[in-house]
Symmetry: C2
Subunit: 118 residues, 2 copies
C-alpha cells in the first residue's frame, strides 16, 4: 500500500531567536527550502504577531510547507507535506534546521492517505 | 510539561467526491470550522488543481487549518494546528467530517513544542 502524501513534522529547538521573529527572512528561507527540495511554489501567506512570532505557509504544487515560531522560546514548529516522488522533503528540512540555527531538533514522518484500494 | 501547540491530523475517507473538488465550498467549510471552533481568521490561500483536487489553508491567530483533497480517491488530509486554550479543534474536526460527508475517518493528535524549560 502506498501513501498519497508524506508529512514531515519538525520540532526545531534552541534556534536563533532573532531570525524566528524576522518575517522577511523566514519567507525567504521557506521559499528557498521549497525550491531546493524540487517543489514548485504556487503561493504564500505570512503573518507577523505582536509582540513576537511569525506564522507562514508556502503552498507548493506538491502540497505545503508551514512554519510557526515562538521566538521567546527559541522554538519553531515546521511541517513539510509533500506528495509524489519528485520532491525531497529531507532537503527542505536540512535547510530549515541550518538557517534557523537549531541546536536541537527532532522529526516525525507520517504517511498520509493510505487507502484500502491502493 | 505543557505543549505550545496541539496538532490534529485528520484522515477523511469515503467523502463526497464532488465537494472535495469544490474550492468555494471548501473555503467556506474551513472558515466556518475555524470560527465555530472559536478561532480568529487572519488570512487564507486556496489553490485548485487540474484535473482535480484542492489545497487550502486558513491562517488563524491560534495557528492554522489545512486541507488537501484527492477527489478521485474520495480522500482529504486535514490538519488543525492550534495553540492556547480558547480554541476547540475537535469542534472544527466534527464540522469537516460532517460537511465532507466522510464515511470513514481517523485522527491523530500530536503535541507540538514540548520544551524542557516549561
Amino acid at each position: 500500500m502506498n501513501a498519497l502524501g508524506k508529512h514531515l513534522l519538525l520540532e526545531l529547538k534552541d534556534c536563533n531567536k532573532e531570525v524566528l521573529n524576522d518575517l522577511s527572512f523566514l519567507k525567504g528561507v521557506l521559499s528557498t527550502a521549497a525550491s531546493e527540495a524540487g517543489a514548485t511554489v504556487l503561493g504564500e501567506s505570512f503573518h507577523q504577531f505582536a509582540p513576537q512570532g511569525v506564522s507562514g505557509v508556502v503552498i507548493i504544487r506538491e502540497s505545503h510547507l508551514f512554519i510557526h515560531t515562538w521566538p521567546e522560546c527559541g522554538y519553531a514548529a515546521v511541517d513539510i507535506f509533500t506528495c509524489g516522488d519528485s520532491v525531497r522533503p529531507e532537503k527542505a528540512a536540512q535547510i530549515l534546521i541550518s538557517k534557523l540555527e537549531a541546536k536541537n531538533h527532532s522529526s516525525l514522518e507520517i504517511q498520509r492517505g493510505i487507502l484500502d484500494s491502493q
